[in-house]
């Protein structure tokens, strides 16, 4: 079996997931992992798909072409990257929230990158009225760093005035 990553973006409408997964199923594909969301008016989906060994990325593109053109989607297909070797690193959940302004995601991501913290999951959302920007990050921290150290990392000038909290995966309660 071969692993591929398929990404789809397009104007949101009913039936996108059904059409894309139906085409993948025709190729003997098995959706192993999938994330999808509406971002503004666009529907975005990324799938980790396992297909029989003889199926190439070009085959997947050809198979999805009618669906993609019919629904006006953009498509990306590429062989899955090998899982990286830091699975043993401790994970923390970071929540950053406050009044919206440009540069919050970049400020957080830059601070984390500079401290060798690896982002494994990230999403952000505007909620409420007046809107609050909420950024949620799950991250692997380097050996020798703890949740307190991570909190110091994100207490950077780019994130000044925002509220933030760090929860260690190994300290799930209180």
């Amino acid at each position: 079996m071969s692993d591929f990553t398929v990404s789809i973006v397009g104007e949101d409408r009913p039936g996108i997931v059904a059409a894309v997964t139906g085409a993948l199923l025709e190729a003997g594909g098995n959706v192993e992992n999938c994330r999808a969301s509406i971002l503004a008016g666009s529907f975005a989906m990324v799938l980790a798909v396992q297909v029989p060994e003889w199926v190439t990325d070009h085959d997947i593109v050809d198979l999805l072409a009618p669906t993609v053109s019919g629904l006006g989607l953009s498509l990306g297909v590429r062989p899955a990257a090998p899982a990286h070797g830091d699975a043993g690193r401790e994970r923390c959940v970071i929540t950053i929230y406050g009044a919206d302004r440009p540069g919050i995601v970049h400020g957080a991501a830059s601070a984390l990158a500079a401290a060798d913290v690896n982002i494994v999951d990230l999403s952000s959302r505007l909620v409420g009225d007046p809107p609050i920007y909420v950024l949620g990050i799950e991250a692997e921290i380097p050996d020798g760093m703890d949740a307190g150290g991570l909190e110091r990392v994100i207490q950077c000038p780019a994130l000044a005035g925002l509220d933030m909290s760090v929860q260690s995966e190994s300290e799930r309660l209180l």
Partner: protein
């Protein structure tokens, strides 16, 4: 100018002033992120605050608790009442928890929480299932109660407010655990 007082009976306690519903502080008001000070004086001002908390909480349907910072008072006091809640078969009844301290906790359970100060969202929050909390009552007497399930969740939610902690600080995944609240119709 003195207010006109219209007394009404409240259980066996006697008469009290009409409800005083105070505006609820909404995030990003900084008072919600400020740790509160311990209550040192157990007098009329504390009793008044407790009554305001109760009256304000009761002005919202299905509200089971409110903390002092949510009405702008940065004192370690909160009001909890799970009476009549379907998830609490044996509630403690109305509780005013002053200077509460978590003495014991066990178990863990994820449940959906809302917050008067974050009115547009709900969130899945993991909390202990059983707790013991020590606190002072309005007279300043030390008390300790055990609570479980939903009532424990409410108490811990309100105690979080006293430390400037909101449900957004407790979610595990923004994508999976934070939800826009359904719009209420009418009103």
């Amino acid at each position: 100018m003195p207010r006109t007082r219209r007394a009404r009976h409240v259980g066996a306690v006697g008469v009290r002033a009409p409800p005083l519903i105070r505006p609820v502080v909404i995030y990003p008001d900084r008072r919600l992120k400020t740790p509160c000070a311990p209550v040192r004086s157990f007098g009329a001002a504390l009793a008044r605050l407790a009554r305001d908390l109760e009256d304000t909480a009761r002005s919202f349907p299905r509200t089971t608790g409110i903390a002092a910072p949510q009405v702008g008072e940065l004192w370690r006091a909160c009001f909890v009442d799970c009476t009549g809640h379907p998830k609490v078969p044996e509630p403690h009844g109305p509780l005013v928890l002053v200077n509460p301290v978590l003495m014991h906790h066990s178990g863990a359970e994820t449940g959906r929480e809302g917050c008067l100060s974050l009115p547009e969202i709900t969130a899945n929050v993991e909390r202990p299932v059983e707790i013991a909390v020590r606190f002072r009552d309005l007279a300043g007497d030390l008390r300790e109660i055990e609570a479980s399930g939903f009532e424990a969740r409410v108490i811990l939610h309100e105690m979080d407010h006293l430390d400037g902690v909101l449900i957004l600080d407790r979610v595990r995944s923004l994508a999976l655990d934070v939800f826009p609240r359904k719009k209420r119709s009418g009103g």
